[in-house]
Amino acid sequence: MATIIVDNKSYIVDEQQNLLAACLGHGLNVPYFCWHPAMGSVGACRQCAVKQFKDDRDQSGRLVMSCMTPATNGTRISIDDPEAKAFRASVIEWLMVNHPHDCPVCDEGGECHLQDMTVMTGHVYRRYRYPKRTHRNQTLGPFIRHEMNRCIQCYRCVRYYRDYAGGRDLNVFGSHDAVYFGREQDGTLENEFSGNLVEVCPTGVFTDKTFFHHYTRKWDLQAAQSICPHCSLGCNTTAGERSGLLRRITNRFNSQVNGYFLCDRGRFGYEYVNSPHRIKQALVKQERHLSQLGTMDGVPQPLEFAAERLREARGIVGIGSPRASLESNAALRSLVGPQHFYQGIDDQERQLLSTILNVFRAGPVPSASIHDAEQSDAVFVLGTDLLNEAPRLALALLQSIRQQPMDRVDELKIPRWDEAAVRNAVQNRRGPLFLAGYQRTWFHEYATDTYFAAPDDIARLGFAVAGTIAQESSSVPDLNSQAKELAQRIAQALTHAQRPLIIAGTGSGSQAMIEAAANVAWALHQQGKQPRLSFVLPEANSAGLALLGGGSLNDAFDAISQGKADTVIVLENDLYRRADPVKVDAFLDGAHTVIVIDSLEHRTTAQADVLLPAATGPESDGTFVNQEGRAQRFYQVFVPEDDVKASWHWLSDLGRATSQEGDRGSGVGTWHNFDDAVAATATVAPELARIKEVAPSASFRLVGQKAPRQTERCSGRTSLIAHLTMHEPPPPADPHSPLGFTMEGYRGPLPSPLISQFWAPGWNSIQAVNTYQDDVGGPLRDEMPGIRLIEPVAPKAPAWFTSIPRAFQPTAQQWLLLPLSAVFGSDELSNQAPAIAERIAQPFLSLHPSDGARLGLQDDSTIDLVLQGTPYRLAVHFEPSTPVGTVGLSLVPEVAGIRVPMWVDLCEAIKIEQTRRAA
């Protein structure tokens, strides 16, 4: 620690910091543009100038850029010095030379860092009286709007997009006062993390195009903490609503999880909430298979009807869901009883999840948060395509490869925040990152080594790495020399690292791969290393569902087919995405009554006898457990329309409706608010006990008040419905959380989950996050970053996994069909968002060129492939990285429901088509 003197007052600061970060950490307002807590200093904008004095006798001092000056002990500076203030005002004056005066029509207005800094420096009057330069704007695709005339050339966008996020298609062109930030030509920004430009840009050059389509000012948004439902990482988001419409998602800083950045699926996938396919009415369908579900006169009330059917049922099957909250799943489990609760996922997925849980429960190696991943100095990824399955983790690994070269930076005594100098010193040196998989993406260009092979071969590589680390020779029989050498290189890199990380996932459906990853981590642990493990899971609450337990979907099918039950409750689950349609049809047909609780129409809801409209994430409270095992709370943002209710609430209503008089002592029927739901859920499994501590309960108050979801300056409250009534209705009650649907409430420091939006006096933009941190870039004050439910207790590894698969052998007739996840297209919910839908690629089949030739196919041709009796029109892509004997199938909506991996006779599947064509 160091002491610095700012305007004659002493402050204790971290000497590893620069002066700007040190000042901001103490709440001292120093304006800035080009510096970013996650991207360091480059000294371009010159906005953060302060006066530095040599000692207490030095009266004149000199201007320095605080972002480029280390906070060494005894540093004496002045922020208020008249010359420093005048210079900072001049910087704004220069920036304003070309900045348009369009704040009233600019989407950034009201949360613009440039506005804030202009006010902060006090620049007011325009003295420049010449023409402004103008630029042509570009069309950058469905996510981002471009207005280059607003640009103040802080270079943050290119530094973020290219240096931080690995993007290639955004750049800076030209020079002097005509520098241009954009693409070489109009076109969609390709990088999967482009949406962060909206927050990285300090003004309105890059704005959220989806938000633009239903724009409202930041101060008019009703907002609360959300957890992204679009993959298993559980990034924290702030969801904002006005007038019943979810308007946008912004990043919500969580030091352990997503930090400052989100992926585009998470940021732009939210519009499923506003989808025209939302189910909003509770419905009863008395006759099956009517094309329209309707509540005609004489139709009984859905809840009572459902309750009656449940009371009369000869056995109930409850099917849970990895995209429903822990509480909703627990509610269903309570309603139907644990033995009748099924996880709603297939056997294979259930098996993989249970293996992963056991690896963490029984093993000595902890799981890795995204923050841990960022800090890792050697990474080995087995089989999972991070960029498409868990994008934010890929972004973290792009930072992890900078860890090892930092040794040289430290050696040269370059402070780590001095980003420009660090990049000059590091150049193209990258730390170890080994990617084994079967789909090439641009992310592979950052890898030390890549290995493209079938899942079994990847698992074998993993086992070989574990064997090498454990110094067991010939652990994997018949390993080819290429894999053997690679295994040695990987083992060496991992053992030389301080914080090695092993990543695998469920995406390829390979059990062996997960076991191999565990072995590698355990072998490192045995060598006295401190490794971490990370498994990418299929969905937002896959881990939570696995903790609750329950049979697979097949077990549920058996219960109906064997006559053990005749009534089915499906919770937020489209069974047709998870099982063979023929089986699902048989299952639903075999049930006497099918009750479906869900938010969007799909093939399963079409089969419902009773349909209950479920609230989406932003319309309900709940807990998700992410792939790390971190339980996180999402809060209801707004009150949904019509009959829409949280699933657990429907289930608790059903519980009450079905229970006999005088039998209300236990079960879901006794749940009255979300706290009851959490308390009951916490008792289901020992590991869930701590979910109560994840976020403040509904009874939490500060100075007797709830925390408001609306801003202090929310406008139009008294006039919004003035055409209907002159009375201002009372705000909706919220018995489920310590938040209110109002402007009124406690305005002061809050536990982080209760913060509605980051906002502070003088800091209207997302940069206000600084004011919520003691150390800028560090954890939030009073941060509740979620709770890790499983920490290792075992001192050493249990018995190692020993089922090493045999080497993959291509066959003459059969090809192994492998799933190719797509960041845009593979997630059920985000696919419903129009902007995401625009980015979904046509379905394709990826083949090794030699396999393509064998099948007589042309690259980029179109084929019809008949799978399980259904023809699919697919583009053919020849891809040398696709392992011979396998084919990759892109998982986009058109092919949802195909169970992969599976063996397919491609000659047959395509021959059928050719015969048909000939006929």
Binding site: V42, G43, A44, C45, R46, Q47, A49, R62, L63, V64, M68, F87, S90, V91, W94, L95, V97, N98, R127, Y128, Y130, I152, Q153, Y155, V172, G174, S175, H176, D177, A178, V179, R408, L412, I414, D418, A420, A421, N424, A425, V426, Q427, R429
Partner: protein, 433 residues
């Protein structure tokens, strides 16, 4: 008077071949490096008091002393010749390269040897096509003769040299922007520290030196530091190529002892200002130096004799301002150049310079007010070293600030008469108004 750098250059503009160069003692000292360890070459250059001829005047020996030496130092190290001679009015490096390309190669080999840098780059101004051709030929000759690409006798030191023609930006003359350009990045300066001597080209220790500076090194090694010091008239050692352009009787260049006065160059060598015009001032070395007027003409032109409040020597290739030229228009021309050549990285330079240029334009067009004078002064105050990212903008302010001092009345006249007193067109327009 000795002219070691230019005495053998052919007056007819043809180049000197390797054979000619060797005949006059060229590459000779490479044969005896076995007895001269790198540290000794460094000491010779330090003792000679050689200062950077690109305009900075930094002691070459001091610059070298920051380079990590020995077995632990990062490898490879680089020596880069800064031949991006884009300073308006400056053409001294071109004279040397075109006339005697081997001098640069030998200088680079010796400099590389001194700092144990095995790889050299010549970063050459893109428009210097003839220089590029002659250097390419000379490098090929030097490779063929074994001066490049093979270990020097008795040393185990092998030097490789590459020529890189710039894509053409003034800022590439700034050494760190030059390094970025050489790496294929945008020509934007780098923050210092770390200095290129520790983190330079591709992150390795690098020394960037002006072409003329490198030409001096073989002569120092051949004749010793005392001889070199005696060449000059002042404490800075050696000779310097002085040049003059503008309305003078005999514009040109001359290699003269360092410390020759401007008056001597102007009157004795350039034959004074042309007939019918009067001397008003001169920019001593390129356009990022301050004006010197009549009162400064007897100052010795070297790196230590010009007081900071007057200015600095720069490249020593002078541009003369006469009384037939509008000083405001003269400065406007300079500021337009700086505006165009700003790299666009830092705010004060990128936004301040075009504003300055537009204000000067308004003086010329007769639309300036006294507020504009204070805006100009504000820019000369704010665009100072340390306030901007590199020296380009402070350099741009040097002629403006001194013009505001020495030619203040001319600025005022533009305001009071509502136009440029030197412009006939402007006078006609005034009548029309």
């Amino acid at each position: 008077m000795e002219r070691p750098l230019t005495q053998h250059i052919h007056p007819d503009g043809t180049t000197r071949t390797l054979r000619e160069y060797v005949t006059t003692g060229g590459y000779h000292c490479l044969q005896r490096l076995a007895g001269l360890p790198p540290k000794d070459v460094q000491r010779l250059v330090t003792d000679a008091g050689l200062r950077g001829r690109g305009g900075g005047g930094f002691l070459t020996g001091a610059k070298w002393s920051f380079v990590p030496m020995g077995a632990d130092a990062a490898k490879p190290k680089y020596i880069v010749a800064n031949g991006d001679e884009m300073e308006p009015g400056t053409f001294k490096d071109r004279v040397l390269i075109e006339g005697d390309p081997h001098g640069l190669i030998e200088g680079m080999i010796l400099a590389g040897y001194a700092i144990e840098a095995e790889i050299g780059y010549i970063f050459l101004r893109g428009e210097y096509h003839l220089s590029a051709r002659r250097l390419t030929e000379a490098i090929a000759e030097a490779y063929a003769a074994g001066y490049l690409g093979t270990p020097l006798p008795g040393t185990g030191f092998r030097f490789d040299l590459h020529l890189h023609a710039s894509a053409g930006r003034y800022i590439c003359g700034e050494e760190t922007a030059l390094i970025n350009a050489l790496e294929g990045k945008r020509a934007v300066p780098r923050a210092k520290p770390p200095f290129p001597q520790t983190v330079g080209l591709w992150g390795k220790p690098t020394v960037v030196q002006n072409v003329e500076t490198l030409y001096n090194i073989p002569h120092i090694v051949n004749h010793g530091s005392d001889w070199y010091r005696r060449l000059s008239r002042t404490q800075d050692g050696g000779t310097k190529i002085y040049g003059i352009s503008g309305r003078v009787t005999n514009p040109g260049w001359w290699e003269l002892p360092l410390g020759t006065t401007a008056r001597e160059v102007l009157e004795r060598y350039a034959g004074g200002v042309a007939d019918g015009v009067r001397f008003r001032g001169l920019l001593p070395g390129g356009i990022s130096t301050a004006f010197m007027t009549e009162e400064h003409l007897d100052l010795p032109l070297d790196f230590s004799s010009i007081p900071p409040e007057v200015g600095r020597l720069g490249t020593a290739t002078m541009i003369v301002l006469d009384d037939h030229t509008c000083p405001v228009g003269f400065v406007l021309n300079l500021e337009k150049f700086f505006t165009r050549e700003s790299c666009g990285w830092c705010t004060p330079c990128r936004e301040g310079l075009p504003w300055v240029a537009r204000i000067l334009m308004s003086f010329e067009e007769g639309r300036a007010t006294s507020d504009d004078l204070s805006l100009l002064k504000m820019h000369t105050k704010w665009l100072a070293p340390g306030h901007t990212f590199c020296g380009l903008a402070p350099g741009a302010m040097a002629p403006l600030q001194s013009a505001l001092k020495y030619f203040h009345d001319d600025f005022e006249r533009h305001i009071t008469t509502g136009g440029c007193p030197w412009s006939k067109k402007s006078a006609q327009q005034r009548v029309l108004v």
